[in-house]
């Protein structure tokens, strides 16, 4: 009943418009390499503050997030350039399908698979989300600290090729977040005598810099160009191809959704795992990479289901599972809406409107992606040399608009250079943002827990202890993986000698 009311509420002209804008922007962002959903959401955050419609703003941001998952497949299939990291596996078989004149089939199955996964994801979110929220009502500061610690540990362990690098940049993000005022005592930290630093560093310039400016600098160095190759051919696969594609979509959804509820298991992780799965269970694994429909359908469905699933811990616990949900969290907090279990109680209408908008958004995305595929293909032919300056301009405006100070633009440029250097050195970027957002929450919950009863308080809270044990297991597995990796490399070197 709540869900139906939520969907009905979305059908107001204003909310429908915001939903459409979000889906359109998300698809555009997905089509254009160089600007991901996280950067776009960071750029739009200060702009949405002027909208005076919190539901509309959040619906638009959500549309950008799952819309980018749809749009990224278009350039992967048509040009072999992934629009998003989560669309990289789609290139493996999508582009070969284009070269065979089957681009239309690849685009169709990617769009329909995304729709199936998105819709199933919405249904599961509607069922699981409130249940998780009810469970989370029993959480106090110790439980939240445990959950946050587990989240950070998982995120760090799963980031990039090395957990050490993930830990380093995660801690760096947490330290950046401490600049400004201590949340308990109000003393200034890391201000170095500068008035601007006493206000702390805002999330938006950091996110815009790391994800937006950093990406543009990398892409400019790489000298990116866009080329559209191949004809679309017939749109819909038939017979056996259609059946294989649909089954791969369902498998991708089944894999992507549970993963999406775990911190660190972002859409790129899900799409790679889905591709691996399809290859492993296929009767002809040697054909993967030559234009197999399951190689497109599985990853696309997984990344969409994963994107929807990220809203479960976000809305139920207030814990983001990746950079884009982290920015959604920031948007909710800007509007004074604390995500967490109370959202489903005190702001029930708002919560169900957001969930309802996802159903509507998935239908809009199907319409945007299928009939308009030729339009998106033409967009992808716009040379990057014309897009890059405009994107940089938008990044600058977004960084400024957060607090109306050029100091924040300076922060964004600094973060952009840092993001560029980190990408060059193959350091993961997501833990910086997640540490930046989760760090203060971790600090406050730790401080509150210790003030409640000292360190022994954790021993008397079984849920917190479970999270601690899980975090220790994750750390143990990471160290074991690292040891194996180092041992393997030493062995390889000895063999080479």
């Amino acid at each position: 009943m709540d869900l139906i009311n939520g969907i009905i509420h979305v059908f107001s002209p204003a909310l429908l418009l915001y939903c459409f804008l979000g889906c359109l922007l998300g698809t555009l962002v997905g089509v254009l390499p160089g600007l991901g959903p996280a950067a776009t959401m960071a750029i739009l955050l200060p702009v949405t503050m002027n909208l005076k419609n919190p539901a509309g703003a959040i619906i638009m941001m959500a549309g950008i997030y799952y819309g980018a998952a749809y749009g990224g497949s278009t350039t992967s299939i048509l040009t072999n350039i992934p629009g998003e990291t989560s669309s990289v596996p789609t290139c493996f078989d999508g582009f070969p399908m284009t070269k065979q004149g089957r681009a239309g089939e690849a685009l169709w199955i990617a769009a329909v698979g995304s729709f199936i996964a998105g819709t199933v994801g919405c249904i599961l979110l509607s069922i699981i989300g409130p249940g998780f929220a009810k469970f989370a009502i029993s959480f106090g500061p110790p439980e939240y600290f445990g959950l946050l610690l587990f989240s950070m540990t998982t995120l760090i362990s799963l980031s990039g090729e090395s957990p050490i690098k993930g830990l380093g940049v995660g801690i760096l993000g947490m330290m950046l977040a401490t600049i400004g005022t201590d949340p308990v005592s109000g003393v200034f930290r890391f201000d170095f005598g500068l008035v601007n630093l006493t206000r702390g560093i805002d999330l938006i310039p950091v996110a815009v810099g790391l994800f937006g400016i950093g990406e543009i600098l990398m892409s400019s160095e790489a000298g990116m160009t866009k080329i559209y190759e191949g004809k679309l051919g017939k749109m819909m696969p038939r017979g056996k191809e259609l059946r294989k594609g649909i089954w791969a979509c369902l498998r991708g959804t089944a894999l992507g959704f549970p993963l999406g509820m775990l911190p660190g298991m972002t859409p790129p992780v899900a799409s790679f795992m889905a591709y691996d799965l399809e290859k492993k269970i296929s009767k002809y694994p040697e054909k993967f990479g030559t234009g197999v429909i399951e190689g497109v359908a599985g990853p696309e469905a997984a990344n969409n289901a994963n994107a929807q699933a990220g809203f479960v811990p976000l809305m139920a616990f207030g814990i983001p599972t990746g950079p884009s949900p982290a920015l959604m969290l920031a948007a909710l907090m800007i509007y004074g809406l604390q995500p967490g279990p109370m959202l489903f109680i005190t702001k029930k209408d708002f919560a169900w409107t957001i969930i309802g908008s996802m159903y509507v958004g998935n239908v809009m995305l199907l319409i945007l992606n299928l009939p308009l595929v030729g339009f998106w293909a033409r967009i992808s032919t716009v040379p990057y040399k014309y897009l890059a300056p405009l994107i940089l301009g938008v990044c600058g405006v977004a960084a400024y608009a957060a607090r109306n100070t050029m100091f924040d633009v300076g922060i964004a440029v600094g973060a952009g250079v840092l993001g560029y250097l980190m990408k060059k050195a193959h350091w993961p970027i997501a833990p910086v943002i997640l540490g930046f957002i989760l760090g203060p929450m971790l600090e406050v919950s730790l401080s509150q827990s210790l003030n409640m009863g000292g360190p022994v308080i954790f021993l008397s809270r079984p849920i917190a202890m479970v999270f601690f044990i899980l975090a220790i297991i994750i750390v143990f597995l990471s160290i074991r993986f690292l040891k194996r990796k180092v041992a393997k490399e030493i062995l390889n070197e000895e063999t080479d000698l």
Binding site: G168, L172, M175, S185, R189, P389, E443, S447, E493
Partner: protein
């Protein structure tokens, strides 16, 4: 070929250790400040722990990754590409000062014209036209539609 990568690891590890040390010093400084509030962790306790972990991470990065740096390959980046990136960074920084001096509109015309040039648009006439059009579009969208208030600059303020 391994040498530059080894150097990179030393720089990275040193950076983390230095940042960690800064964190520890700040944490100790904050904890020495008198406060009436009861706070078991103290205003600097959290930062102290972060600084310590960061130092340990830097040391671990050096110990684990220094030995295996030989197998990494150096990416080939041409001087032209490096100049393009450096040029963009200089423009971004210069734009901040130009906005404060000449205001947003003038600064954005200059910024866009030069950025299009660096990005690869060859003709200066095209760059200037694109710069003017982009600045005008941004002004209409962000200043008029979204009510973002940009600095007028010392020159026009």
């Amino acid at each position: 070929m391994g040498e530059p990568v080894k150097r990179t690891i030393v720089i990275e590890a040193t950076l983390f250790i230095v940042l960690g040390a800064v964190g520890i010093m700040e944490g100790l400084r904050l904890n020495r400040q008198p406060t009436d509030l009861f706070q078991m962790l103290g205003p600097g306790g959290y930062i102290l722990v972060l600084g310590l972990v960061l130092m340990m991470t830097g040391a671990a990065h050096f110990i684990v990754d220094y030995g295996k740096s030989r197998s990494a390959e150096k990416e080939a980046v041409s001087t032209k590409e490096r100049i393009r990136v450096a040029g963009l960074v200089v423009l971004l920084v210069g734009n901040i000062f130009l906005v404060e001096f000449a205001g947003y509109l003038v600064a954005s015309i200059v910024f866009f014209s030069l950025t299009f040039k660096i990005s690869g648009v060859r003709s200066w006439r095209t760059n200037i036209i694109l710069g003017l059009c982009s600045a005008a579009a941004f002004y209409v969208v962000f200043v008029r539609l979204f009510d973002v208030i940009f600095p007028y600059g010392i020159l026009f303020g």
